[in-house]
Symmetry: C2
């Protein structure tokens, strides 16, 4: 179907997964890398690959002769020859200019700063004097970084105090140009894969959270669970979600570059909710492995589509949640997590066919998908612990249910809902949103809730009880209303205020003061799509039945005259 | 990780997809097939494959020498040598006995009949006299079938009338033994992939619907949309879903065989809702291609796990719905659907790398996934039409919403719900279920609804209005109650009957007579998990807003004195 031949510089695991996508599309791929049986080459018996270095101009030119489009799975390639090939009319993606820019992290940041991308402040450090100036400017700790040939934490040095200052230079490879960066006291690390078409159109995958261990990517959670907190504090964070802002930063950064392909954009989520871009990889990225099982179109297929000028595939997730664990070389313990993965629902193991298992080498990865992040986390835990029993990955969960009430006096009624959701293991949030006293908060809460991953809203209110209906007017989500009984009218006022909504805006109303039922209704709504919650609901219903049958038994045994009613 | 080597007889597209799964698990696979560059061999540059026929005992023995476990991707292999290898202690899966049994369709059916598997009646037809006896027994039309070497409709002949009887024999390959089968007047064709572990434990994938064209598999829909009809008519169909029954038939059939692996079980869904088994394939199957993108573990990986005695992977779907389209050789038009697939969300193309494109040859397939079958169908349509503009795949949809009411007098109130769901493109059903007059129907309706794919129930009732609460007591699904106003008490009786549910069993109650809001609430519940419905809800909310803003405009223009209220 596709007659153009693609050549790729590098044949490691990223190339291997590009190869998988290429085979499915009958796209001819020729691989340039040193090992004769590199991970990517193993999967392609169709053509003679080129055995040599992706830094060797002769080999790159040899590859160029046999293919129509050249791409990379690693950025540490010889770009001079790529520039030369591009000038001679060969398609090279991403553009040699982009690869060159990204090879120098300091140039990369200067470029991005010009485009208004938020970054940690940085300073060129050509000599010891400059390093000391950086210390004065940034204070301690600050980062000293190699501009080039840095990856997986190599080329980074944390200058913690004045004592470190003197021999900081010697901690990094000699002759490598350096720059300093202000310490980013981040809360979490995020990443976004962006795909850029041949015409410069960009499209981003969901924001993921990455967890590093010894500076190497350890875990990835998709989508990033950054939906907690009803609304932010600054003007910007008030009206947009972290997800939206991170995607915008990533897309703007990639839009500023040239050439087609997928790009990995690593970012910091700062404690105030703001985003800083950390660095860009001009190729498929470890943080995007999960896209194979979890998205409509994988990063690998989209990379091929992009560089061939084909229509880009959808970057949306097809499952609710995914997690990824890297399998690093660890001698005979390397594959313990893989053995465990066989016993886990939703786990897919990818091994890279690497013969030599050096310590810390990326030997494979496992992707876990599920219908909620909680499920993914539960499944991931035994894998992580198979590698390191003391390891406990961070558990961040977007609230699936948001409980809000007009006044803290409603809490005594609404707490039963919180208890049920806790019992049923539903991640939720509970806060005050008053229609009458905090209308602006209510407005943004209603507008943002679904963008934060909330699936159902429970709103309790008494008296005039406007909150449920007003929130329903602002959100496309289902809103459950709990009429709270006030001091007069027995709660009938609240009930009628909540249930008698005008045509067009529904509120799912439950009995007066019955927030238990509101929570159970929320669990039923989740259970229609998340089987584990349906199972929990069925178990809850069986338990109620058994409880009554137990009472039947007691009645039969002791007789009605002696039966004592015990209120639960 | 896995040190045992697997050898496979056959290296076509099924072998290719087994190879993909094997590579991911670092499982060494050696392929025996004639073409040097068969689809499976192309993806494995790791070892020398064996070039020869899977019917050639010499080649099979040669394969056996280099591997630990032997399996097949095609059943038309030499089983005598497999029996011999098994006797000598080599692992062969599925067992040679099973493959031998399945090679003879008549023996296969006699075996299954012994195990109580429902089948169309069949008769051995060793001579013309026997064929005539079959005609008398079965009437016209009936099927005359070759016992062996039959696939993709080859070896089947429909005897339509007495005129066909005389030369029926000559319509089929000479010397092939025949049998006759009663005509199965089926409503639809279903299939289930079953995986059988080395210890005989069976686990089935969801029931799918298959659509054939010229006797070749054309489309597959997963899960089969057989959830329509509130409850069945016979005792059995009353209390179990078609899905459950079809899986049970398939699992029982495979449990009766020996050896490990995946098996494709093709079935007929008869017009009365009963199931007949049609035939079994002892290997991965075309109707299970969709499992790669749509299930936790693909049939290919599960086949490898089964034959190696590893824990079986989950057969559950990870997406709500999937569809599969085969790409058959059609000259220069072969890849039209693939070109189209690039533009469709959720489409994944699998091409098999076949160099020669004979008419009707399986060249690839496209799998479409989505968050509802409706979406999958919508996405599939342009693909199907790219191949044949006059083709219209059958549109069966499980109802996502079930509207029930206690009496047909409630219809005038409840029809507004049906109108909203129609407008919002939500597949739904509407029927009568009376708590007081049809309690048995209500019981089975409540118990079965979620097994039929229903996600939300809307129940309308007036007066004592028990239906919503009683249905809520029977189902784990969310139930929306619509209080219908009766001739007295203004509907307050219905409202209180529905909303004041006891702790433990919630009903989402909407305003009196406001079934519009019930439907909108159902759409919101769906929209929390099916983005296209959330988008529709957002659009609906914008339209309401625009409508009011239009009235603001009119008021401003004509003034309040001249303003005329128009009731919509």
């Amino acid at each position: 179907m596709e007659s153009r031949r693609v050549g790729i510089l590098g044949g490691g695991q990223l190339g291997r997964m590009v190869q998988e996508a290429a085979s499915r599309l009958n796209i001819s791929l020729t691989i340039l890398d040193e090992p004769v049986d590199s991970p990517a080459k193993q999967l392609n018996a169709n053509q003679p690959h080129i055995h040599g270095s992706f830094r060797d101009p002769v080999k790159i030119r040899e590859l160029a002769e046999s293919v129509d489009v050249i791409t990379v799975e690693i950025e540490h390639v010889d770009t001079r020859v790529l520039h030369e090939l591009e000038a001679s009319g060969k398609s090279v993606h991403p553009s040699p200019a982009t690869i060159t820019l990204i090879q120098d992290k300091y140039l990369q940041k200067q470029h991005l700063a010009k485009y208004g991308i938020p970054l940690a402040d940085s300073l060129d450090c050509s000599d010891q004097e400059a390093i000391e100036r950086a210390a004065q400017e940034f204070g301690y700790p600050f980062m000293l970084k190699a501009k080039t040939m840095a990856y997986d934490g190599r080329g980074n040095y944390v200058v913690s105090s004045m004592a470190d200052l003197k021999d900081a230079r010697s901690k990094l490879a000699p002759d490598v140009p350096l720059y300093a960066e202000r310490w980013a006291k981040f809360d979490r690390e995020l990443a976004v894969m962006v795909v850029r078409s041949i015409t410069g159109e960009v499209s981003s995958y969901p924001v993921v959270e990455t967890v590093h261990k010894n500076n190497i990517c350890h875990l990835v959670f998709a989508p990033a669970q950054v939906g907690r907190g009803l609304t932010g504090t600054s003007d910007e964070t008030f009206s947009t979600s972290i997800q939206e802002r991170a995607r915008r930063v990533a897309e703007n950064a990639i839009a500023s570059l040239s050439g087609a392909g997928v790009f990995g954009v690593e970012m910091f989520l700062m404690q105030d909710g703001s985003i800083l871009l950390n660095e860009i990889a001009p190729r498929p990225h470890n943080s995007g492995h999960y896209t194979i099982e979890a998205c409509y179109t994988s990063q690998y297929e989209n990379h091929l589509r992009a560089i061939l000028g084909l229509p880009l595939g959808s970057t949306e997730m097809k499952v609710e949640a995914a997690g990824m664990l890297n399998i690093l070389g660890a001698g005979e313990n390397t594959y313990l997590a893989c053995e465990e993965a066989y016993r886990l629902r939703g786990a897919t193991t990818h091994l890279y066919g690497k013969k030599e298992c050096k310590a810390g080498r990326k030997m494979g990865h496992i992707t876990i998908v599920g219908d909620s992040m909680q499920e993914v986390h539960t499944r991931l835990l035994p894998l992580v612990m198979a590698i390191d029993p003391s390891d406990k990955p961070p558990l961040h969960l977007n609230p699936l249910v948001s409980i809000v009430m007009g006044s803290d006096s409603d809490l005594k009624v609404m707490e039963a809902a919180a208890q049920i959701l806790t019992k049923m293991s539903v991640p939720f949030e509970l806060s005050l949103v008053s229609a009458h006293r905090t209308p602006e908060r209510m407005y943004h809460f209603g507008r943002l809730a679904h963008k934060r991953g909330v699936k159902v809203i429970i709103a309790g209110a008494g008296g005039a009880a406007h909150l449920p209906g007003m929130v329903a007017a602002l959100t496309p989500l289902p809103v459950i209303g709990v009429p709270v009984r006030g001091s007069t009218l027995d709660g009938v006022d609240s009930l009628h205020s909540i249930v008698q909504m005008p045509r067009g805006v529904p509120v799912a109303t439950v009995a007066i003061n019955n927030s238990t039922n509101a929570a159970l209704l929320a669990v039923r709504m989740l259970g229609s799509f998340i089987p584990s919650y349906r199972v929990r609901m069925e178990r809850y219903q069986s338990q109620m039945e058994e409880e009554v049958l137990g009472k039947v038994n007691t009645l039969d045994n002791v007789g009605w005259e002696k039966y004592e009613y015990i209120k639960h």
